[in-house]
Symmetry: none
Subunit: 201 residues, 4 copies
């Protein structure tokens, strides 16, 4: 099996990440079983360790991958009003979270109670999402579209946090209250204010 193309290796890595995401989502970081992940990915027990140096490292790789995918498709329209761009970003995140419920919940849990090391790495992984929100806020602030009584950094944190909470409510209420696609508007109304008439279209 030596001398395999980079493509093949990449494929293996992705199969492992997919299987890991599922297992972590279903059972959490602690309860997840490394062997089960390998097996679910169609590989032998030890293969994981050719790609990740430990279970924790694998978990973090999954988190990074997940966050990367969540932010991956920049919802374009850089010239659109800040509020609209925020909505698109949050909507993309919610769509991803909806498709990866279990995993998203594990992510939040480890942010709150993971090992300090894991927490730090987790924060790094969520950084891109946070950074994007903050960037949009800062541009909006410059154009006078966004409230200026709170620092963009803090506001970004609040937006991300409230979104997480809304998602938790969504899942706790069996997806009914709030619905997934109501969340972005909900969060923005609470923290940014109502949509301006001019913005609607």
């Amino acid at each position: 099996m030596g001398r395999v193309s980079a493509k093949t290796k990449q494929a293996t890595r992705e199969r492992l990440l997919d299987a890991a995401a599922l297992e972590f989502a279903r059972r959490g970081l602690e309860r997840a079983n490394v062997d089960a992940i390998s097996l679910a990915a169609g590989h032998a027990k030890g293969t994981i360790y050719n790609y990740f140096s430990s279970k924790e490292e694998l978990f973090l790789a999954v988190v990074e991958e997940a966050c990367g995918r969540a932010t991956a498709s920049p919802p374009a329209r850089p010239e659109a009003p800040a509020r609209e761009r925020l909505r698109a970003t949050l909507a993309a995140f919610c769509v991803w979270a909806g498709a990866n419920e279990g995993f998203a919940r594990v992510l939040v849990r480890e942010c709150l109670v993971g090992t300090p090391e894991v927490q730090r790495r987790m924060a790094q992984a969520e950084e891109p999402l946070l950074a994007e929100i903050q960037m949009i806020l800062e541009e909006g602030l410059r154009r006078g579209e966004i409230r200026d009584d709170v620092q963009p950094e803090l506001l970004a944190l609040a937006i991300a946090g409230l979104t997480d909470l809304a998602l938790a409510q969504h899942w706790a209420s069996d997806g009914r209250n709030p619905a997934l696609d109501e969340i972005p508007e909900l969060v923005l109304r609470l923290l940014i204010g109502a949509r301006l008439p001019a913005e609607s279209r």
Copy 2:
């Protein structure tokens, strides 16, 4: 030890619950160590099993206890401005959380990421706090002191939720960022707006 008074048993039970709350708060259900809990409570490992049938039962008992203790004593001054009353209510909650870190952390964490069953119990526990916030909001709304673009029920949820998040950040940052007594103002500025000049004193 033969006959032990009900009082003594109750005291032992409480010492165990306190120690367990702290351990669960710091390390989560999975990572928590039964032995460490006993030791912290000043008892031997086996004693736990005289009071709780398993680690998970102990966890649920801690949750239960946290719920019971969380009920805030309403901080009076019904005629004060709504924003000020909200601040007092949140401050009281934060003070309690600071003094009962173990229980508070378990409570907050489980609200955010608990299993559905536990989450429902948590929601009940926070209900009194939520109800009080909502009542203040409704009165403020009637007097025109509070924003009217969001339903009081929703706003109350957001306030409680952001407070929980802020507490989580507080603990995760070793109590520095944010400090406990900054939290109420932080949350209110984000969701209610700046303190009005007239309010300050």
Copy 3:
């Protein structure tokens, strides 16, 4: 099984040490199987870890115990000539080594290729034997019974080392050349010189 007398615990510890010595002697530090040791001692797999924090620690405990036993019976007669006392000490060591062949060889191996940490601890464990030899040499030196062209510390090392080598030869030659009880005299003749006429009796 709680509340067991210190005696019972001591007995368990000794059963574990005995089983461990045998396993280490037979298979070496690396190949030795912790579970097998517990089982051989009549205990369950995990019991070892109630007494020793790791396999390596267990090994070192065995080494210490072995060295302790080898030096344990101080061959008395503090007023006897130094050479005679040395002979008694070496004889005691050889008797022990003869009864623990495999283990003695493992001990030497780990001294040579063990982890640095193990090597250091091993040296500490052998220290008592070395110290005793050195002490006898220093007393003999004061009385003018021992050569003074080499430092006692160095001479002690050489005596212990040559004894080890002689044991190795003994084992390699199926116990014939040299015989176990010839070794002390052999080593002393080489490094201290012939028995004085006055000493013989």
Copy 4:
């Protein structure tokens, strides 16, 4: 890679043996890592198995090679005093050991603690050295330069053995204690006695 000249194969084999000798010397048979050996030799893990059927076979091949390389070139001056000739012989051996650390350490270690089978082979390997020492001793004895209270054969064994031990100490102490070039004098002082004034120059 298709056809490879016998010369190239031989070179690869030797690189592997060199790397293996060092790794086995440093960490012992059990702890030695096949992957590390390949890498140190500049090859991939699998290559080892094109030359040796298993880790143990590789170890035996290293032992074999060490035996072959250990033959000392007799350092002349047959008319010099016996003690000086011994010193030259030991010095030559130590120089070789310093320049072939890997092989020398394996050789010395296996002489001291190898399995009986391996030990016998090792003994053969050191035979030339031993023979030379014994010959010098016998000549010196005839000339009255060497102690006559011990048989030359036994004395030769002790000299070689103590040299091996000193080398082991040398390597274990990172080459400081004793230094390589102090060893011959050290061994001779212990077993032959001090250098005579007439000898020094």
